[in-house]
Amino acid sequence: MDTISNILLLLVILLNFFLLGSSRLASCIRTIALQGGILSLLPVLAHGFSGHTLFLSTVAFLLKGIAIPYLLFRAIRQVHIRREIEPLIGYVPTLILGTLATAGSFIFSGRLPLIPEHSQSLFVPVGLATLATGFLMLISRRKAITQALGYLIFENGIFIFGMLLTEAMPLMVEAGVLLDLLVGVFVMAILMHQINREFSTMNTDNLTSLKE
């Protein structure tokens, strides 16, 4: 059962690199939707079929796979921005940093003692890697909407890590996490709409007037 989840997790890491390298906004959102879909399979795979995990998977799939990408697509269409993603430090350097971050998270998780049944699974390193990729997206992308995407990937990383503890975490908190994710993204979308109306661009360059 571990092998399948490991494969899925490796797929997630590949998607991470694809996200870091992609220059098209629409394809980015589709990749995130795919990643969300994969992740929503994990609870069922990791902990077998039980009412709790099934519910969690379906909610995750609905949210990450369908609701949020739809919301983002609507935001793009409304603010009819140029579809390019302008990275601050170029694609290749972001990719290099991405690999470095993934390697770092593997080393770091190596030092954390896992309980026997998790020892084989790649949950912790992949979680941390996705987290780092999300952070990198946040830091290195110019458009406000890509920062929202970065935040999404960041949340995915935490979600992966959460899989290890599904039986321990009561349902309500898991739902709370997802709910907050949704509300967060929703408010971000509204804000992006305001930013675009006010600044008629999604670039964060002119979002730097508040400084010392």
Partner: protein, 656 residues
């Protein structure tokens, strides 16, 4: 002790009553001033009891503050410092009822009463936290009093520098009290006795903190920069209270804390003396060049604080060296000069205030001939001038007499290098005495005598009875101090018993009694009366004609040709003072063929402030602004900060 509480109660009630918005300012003045006068009277009774009582009266109440306890202690030393507080407070309140009618100063009287209460609490506090509490309340209330006329920008600037200096000083006091409290276990002064078990550099660090903390409030030489701006900005009776009394509470603090370090190293006294004499010379030199009356008096406060510090430093040094007679003389000199200074400096500030009140201008060059228009104020200022220049019949001489004798005694006794310093100090003190004469003859000569230099001075009006009676009370006290120096010594003895028991016994003995000074003062007054009656007798027969002053043949003398304040001290300034003190003057020379309108502006700013503190703070502020580029404004950098902090903390935790 309960009279003290009565006075605080009255002052507190007066403060609240004066805070209410009454219809007319007169009611507020009556309420506030009246309660201040009553409070000071009951305070004086408490001081009387304190001075007479053998044992110190203590009172303590559990206070919910951690480490703090509301404990008070009225012993000889506190009573000695309360005496000038309540005298000047009472006189100031009387003076202020009339002085404050011109300005619409809201809440003035509540701040005044609260200032009196907090100063009295500072002097009687027996717990570190209570002391600091009262100390900062004193600074705050006096700050609000300084900025009474907050519509003037220079008054607000002066108030700001004052608040800044007191706060930095308080930071040093915090450090001292906290480390002392940490060492002695509790903040009560009773437990501070263990401080003398401390040895090594720690004690000196504590002493330097003490000196910086109390020095900044006392106006000691390098830390005096706020005093010449803050005291003149305040209303006159407040600047009298601040110069005469508040500066002394700082010296009280210094004395009280040093009394805990019995085995004090010798260099402490030397340091105090060095700071004292430089402060005296600097203060009086600057006082000679100020064209603003109150600013000149404020600088002379710096000078007098220098002299007091000189005396106390000399007491410390000779006590450490074991010469008890010299120590007794120096301590007596320091304490008596401190008390006398409170009296005559307040008299001069009140006099200057009524001069300003009458001719509504502060600049000496706008005054002149005010003696014939304001006879009583003029007489009071002359008495104050004589007292501050230590001229015989007044009390100024008693303090300086003791200091001189202490210096002479050790100058004559010691040989080799030891004797060199006291002798040099005698020379400097004599020079300072001469310069004080220049300053006072300048103020009296330019402001009171001669011809009025401006239309306002021409129709100056005399002050009302409250202001005059206030000044007369102070002048009589100064005269009484000069005529009965024994009483001054006895009062100082009550304080000295706590500071230095061995030399305090000598106070009662014949060795240092100033009995003869009193006799000589009486003799002098007798001689003056005799000469005056002889003059009246001889002049009685001839006729006294009035004519214009002999202009040495010049036909059209105008009042602008008389000596001005700057020209009076110009000879002394160019001949004697060092170059760093030279005042800035925009010269009025006419250039070119056709004479155009020229201005001659003469300012003597404080060199320590202009050349040291202002550039220092300027550079600090510029450096801080350069560092502010960290807040660069773009979100990516902020996120990078978060990311790096996480990584750093992970590494740090990893290492642990």
């Amino acid at each position: 002790m309960n009279f003290l509480f009565l006075s605080w109660l009255v002052l507190g009630l007066g403060a609240c009553a004066a805070a209410l918005p009454w219809r007319s300012a007169r009611i507020t003045a009556l309420l506030g001033g009246g309660s201040a006068v009553l409070g000071c009277v009951s305070g004086l009774i408490a001081v009387g009891q304190g001075l007479v009582a053998e044992r110190a009266a203590t009172f303590s109440l559990p206070w919910s503050m951690p480490g703090g306890s509301f404990s008070l202690r009225l012993d000889g030393l506190s009573a000695f410092f309360l005496l000038p507080l309540f005298i000047v407070g009472l006189v100031g309140a009387l003076y202020g009822t009339e002085y404050m009618q011109k300005e619409k100063a809201c809440l003035h009287w509540s701040w005044y009463n609260l200032l009196l209460v907090s100063m009295a609490m500072v002097v009687t506090a027996a717990n570190g936290l209570l002391f600091l509490f009262a100390w900062e309340c004193m600074s705050l209330t006096s700050f609000f009093l300084v900025i009474t006329e907050y519509n003037k920008s220079e008054v607000v600037a002066a108030g700001w520098i004052y608040l800044l200096a007191t706060h930095l000083g308080a930071a040093c006091l915090f450090a001292f009290f906290l480390s002392a409290g940490a060492f002695c276990g509790s903040l009560d002064f009773a437990s501070f006795q263990h401080l003398n078990k401390l040895t090594g550099p720690v004690v000196s660090v504590l002493f330097l903190l003490l000196l910086a903390g109390f020095g900044s409030k006392a106006g000691i030489f390098p830390l005096h920069v706020w005093l010449p701006d803050a005291h003149p900005a305040a209303p006159s009776h407040v600047s009298a209270l601040m110069s005469g009394v508040m500066v002394k509470t700082a010296i009280y603090g210094l004395l009280r804390m040093c009394s805990f370090f019995t085995a004090s190293p010798v260099w402490w006294g030397g340091l105090l003396m060095a700071i004292g004499i430089t402060g005296a010379l600097f203060g009086i030199a600057m006082a000679a060049m100020q064209s603003d009356v109150k600013r000149s008096l404020a600088y002379s406060t710096v000078e007098n604080v220098g002299i007091i510090l000189l005396a106390l430093g000399f007491w410390m040094q000779s006590r450490a060296a074991g010469q008890h007679v010299v120590a007794a003389l120096a301590l007596a000199g320091g304490l008596i000069h401190l008390l006398n200074h409170a009296l005559f400096k307040s008299l001069l500030f009140l006099g200057a205030g009524s001069l300003m009140h009458g001719s509504d201008s502060r600049d000496l060059n706008r005054m002149g001939g005010l003696m014939c228009r304001m006879p009583v104020t003029g007489l009071m200022i002359v008495c104050g001038g004589m007292a501050i220049s230590a001229l015989p019949p007044f009390n100024g001489l008693v303090g300086e007499w003791f200091i001189y004798r202490a210096l002479l005694e050790s100058g004559a006794a010691l040989s080799g290098l030891g004797g060199f310093f006291p002798v040099m100090l005698v020379g400097c003190l004599a020079l300072v005495g001469g310069l004080v004469l220049i300053v006072m003859t300048r103020i009296i000569g330019i402001a009171l005598t001669g011809v009025p230099r401006s239309p306002e001075a021409a129709e100056a009006h005399e002050a009302g009875w409250p202001m005059r009676s206030a000044m007369i009370v102070l002048a009589l006290l100064c005269l009484a101090g000069g005529l009965l120096p024994i009483q001054l010594l006895r009062v100082a003895g009550r304080a000295a018993v706590l500071l230095d028991p061995e030399s305090a016994q000598l106070f009662a003995g014949q060795v240092i009694t100033p009995w003869w000074l009193g006799i000589m003062a009486f003799l002098l007054i007798g001689a003056l009366l005799a000469a005056f009656s002889f003059n009246r007798w001889r002049q009685g027969r001839g006729t006294v004609a009035a004519a214009s002053t002999w202009g040495c043949g010049f036909a059209f003398p105008s009042n602008r040709m008389t000596y001005s304040a700057e020209s009076y001290s110009e000879l002394a300034q160019s001949g004697m003072f060092c170059s760093c003190l030279t005042p800035k003057s925009k010269d009025g020379r006419t250039i070119g063929f056709f004479p155009i309108r020229r201005f001659f502006v003469f300012t003597a700013p404080d060199p320590v402030l202009e050349k040291f503190f202002k550039p220092l703070f300027q550079r600090l502020a510029d450096y801080c602004r350069r560092c502010c580029r960290l807040q660069s404004g773009n979100l990516h950098i902020y996120l990078l900060y978060v990311f790096c902090t996480t990584i750093l903390l992970l590494f740090w935790v990893g290492q642990r």
